[in-house]
Amino acid sequence: MSLISENDFGVAENFHVSVASPSDYLALLKPRVMSLVIFTALTGLLIAPSHVNPVVGFASLLAIAIGAGASGALNMWYDADIDALMRRTQKRPIPAGRMHRDDALGFGLVLSVLSVMTLGIIANWLAAALLAFTIFFYVVVYTMWLKRSTPQNIVIGGAAGALPPIVGYAAATGEIGLASIALFAIIFVWTPPHFWALALVKSDEYGRAGIPMLPNVKGADRTRRDILLYALVLAPLGLVPWFMGITSLAYGIIASALGVVMLVFAARVFYIRTGPRVDRCAMQLFGFSILYLFLLFAVIAGERMLAMLVSILAG
C-alpha cells in the first residue's frame, strides 16, 4: 500500500499555474502613482531642516515607494471585480486574466510588511508607522470602505495620497513638522477637483461599475460647483509654503500664477455646461491639475537642491 496516493500528485480544483510576467507584477504597483509618491516624498525629505545621508535618503524613498506600490497591489486585489467593468482598468493583470487574485494579495501583503520594516530599520519607526498607516488608510479605509459607499470617497481617501511628504519629512527628522503638513494640505485639497474632473467625463463608466462618484450621485452641476470651491481654496493654499518661509519669492510668484490658471480652468468647467466643449474643458482641468501639482513640488524641491548645491560648493 502506498502512503501517497496518486491523487496527491494531481491537481486540486482551485490550483492555478500563473502566466503572470514580472511586468504584470510591476503593473500591480501602479508605477505612475508610485512616481508621484516618490516625487512628493522627496520634497518632504528635502524641506526637512536636518541633513540626511544621500544613501539613507535614497533607501527611505525606495521603501516609501514600495509601500505605495504594495497598497496599489492590494487595491487591485480588492477591486478586481469593478476593474473588469471599466475600460480604463480592464487591462490590469487580474481582470485581464493573467494573474490570480490570491497572487496579488500575497504580493501586496509581503511588500507592505517589507517596506514598513525596511523604513523602520533604515530611517526611524515614526516614519515606518506613518507608512503603515498610509497603506492601511488607502487599502482599508478608502478601497474597502469609502470607495463603494460614499460620493465623498476621494475627499477623505485623498488623505492617503497626501501623506507621502509627511512620511518623507518624518524619515529625515523623526518628527511631523508644520512644513510637511502644509504639503499634505495642498495635495489633500488638490485631489477632489483632480478626480472629479475625470469623473465628469467618465461618469458612465463609474456608474456601470457601481462606484458612487460625485457626478453619478449628486449630478454634474453640483460636481462643477464643488470643483470650483476646492480650486478657490487650493489657489491660496498653494502659497502657504512661501508664507511659512519654506520657499523663496520665486515660488510665491509661480504658485500665484499656477493658482490663477487652475481657477480659470475650474471656472470654465463651472460655466461651460453644454455643447461639444464640455468634456474637453473637464479633461483640460484634469491635465492641468497634474501639471499644477508637479510644478509646485518641483519648484520647492528644486530650490532646496539648489541651496544644498550652493552650500556644498561654498564648502
Binding site: E6, F9, G10, V11, F15, V17, S18, V19, A20, S21, P22, Y25, N53, V55, V56, A59, L62, I122
Partner: protein, 53 residues
C-alpha cells in the same frame, strides 16, 4: 525502481513566465542585499569592521 509521477505538465507559456519571474526575484533579492549593505556602510561608516574582537 523507476517511478513515474503524473504531475502537472506546464505549457511553454507557463514555463517562460515562471523563468522570467525567477530571474526577477533573483535580481530583486540581489538589489535588496546591495541596498542593505550600502545603508549599513552609510550609517555605521567604513570603519565598521575595524574594532577589537
Amino acid at each position: 525502481m523507476e517511478r513515474k509521477i503524473q504531475g502537472l505538465v506546464l505549457t511553454p507559456e507557463q514555463l517562460k513566465a515562471r523563468r522570467q519571474r525567477n530571474i526577477a526575484i533573483g535580481l530583486a533579492i540581489g538589489c535588496v542585499a546591495l541596498l542593505f549593505y550600502a545603508v549599513t556602510i552609510a550609517k555605521l561608516g567604513p570603519g565598521v569592521l575595524n574594532r577589537p574582537l
